[in-house]
Amino acid sequence: MDNVITNPDPQFVGLAHYKEVLSDAIFRSSVLHTLFFAFFSVLFHLILGMLFANLLNADINPSLRAVLRVIFIFPWLFTPAIIAIIWRLILDPLGIVNYILASIGAISGVVEWLSNEKTALLVLTFINIWNGYPFYMVSLLAGLQGVPNQQYEAALIDGANGRQRFLFITIPHLMPIILSLSILDFIWTMQVFPLIWMTTGGGPGHATEVMATYTYKLTFLQFEFSKASASAMVILLLSMLMSIFYVRQQRIR
């Protein structure tokens, strides 16, 4: 690492490192993994957040509502490193998930969820969905409680059914919240590192390699600081592209 941080005689190579990174098949697949991970995380965060917010907004006992809200927020309170090891235990080949699935006959034998190339990325996305939906739930619940009652009453008089009321009153009211939540969440999820580093480390092979783990490995395992910087710049540019949408969305309101 001496040669990169304290090199007295650096050499200008133009865009050579960018070319190298962008033509690396592993980098390209890590971009795809990141986009897959981010897209499905955001989608299901939104679906689950909306579902939980509506459940909490339903006609239930107020003190039960308060307790349930706390329970539903739990997954959001855990450190990514801790989430990683809880799920490593749960998904262990000998763990509870395999036990339950085997006893209802859904799987035969032992499934190694995190070290199987076919399941690893899906499972990690699922864990991230579990971890992140409460953020949406809380914001959407606040939004739901701000929808004026008269509009629902008026719609009821006009004969609108539940689904129509949800589609034409609730959703338009929540739209600004939904948009900024999703954009911000997409940007944040694209930066995922600890969860993946502490569960699969990007493996098996490179099946769960994301842009952040790719860059980290270049830096601290291969000591390719300049190539890693190029890769980090690509991530930065992608994030900046997204944040233009975010800043715009913030300014409109």
Partner: protein, 281 residues
Amino acid sequence: MTHSIKKQSMGRKIVTYFFLLLGVVFAAFPVVWLISMSMRPNGEVFATPPSVIPKVLTLGAYAKIFASPEKIRFFINSYVVALIVTACTLFIAMLTAYSFSRFTFKGKKLINMLIIGTQTVPPISLMIPYFGMMVAYRLYDTYFALIFTYLALTLPYAILMMTGFFNTLPKALDEAVLIDGGSRLLTLFRVIVPISLPGIVSTGLYTFLLSWNEFLFALTLTKSNEMATVPIGIQLLMGQHTYEWNEMMAMSFLGSLPIMILFLIFQRYFLAGMSAGSVKS
């Protein structure tokens, strides 16, 4: 709170409660499992058939952690870093937010946009420059390395949030103090800050959460076990004794405890902070 339909039909109610129950299992099961596993001997972790209630209930895993100075050190590090970062963030954010809220100056809009924009800069793209800087300034593997980087992560959000809170307070409050001969700083700390305490609490909580949970910089800017925070400590232990599951779970429980306690006490503020990030601007 409950709008539209006042009385729900019986069938609808049953569906609602069914989904609520499903939600509770989905959200809480991993947490229950974590606690349950931390309170049993390691040999019982993969016992079949699995049971939520341990056959042998023991706090042995916790005792082992408290008997190990190396592991206690992880917690001390996390507390030191998170508390210092929270204190510094709040102080700096108060001053910045006050000037954003009360003064007009050249480039204010631009600076505001930049602050919103920095929230979206990926930490991984800051990793190499920060690493180089900390090595060059000989701060690598010290508390300072973590504190300085965390401040850069926490300040933008804290400033935006507090500016929002200060903006809701009328300027007449400041003028009353200024007319009596008070200084700007006096106005801020004697009048504005006490009134906006709820906002400051939620900003502080969020800052603490962020520094307590941070992983990437703790991993890259420290090296020795003596400097490891809780998340890094857990990673180190995962490498060493992969099979001490009960101890890992106890460690995770202790590592989540401060956040959970803070959340239960300051729930209202936490929720305000969570929705402020996306709803308010």
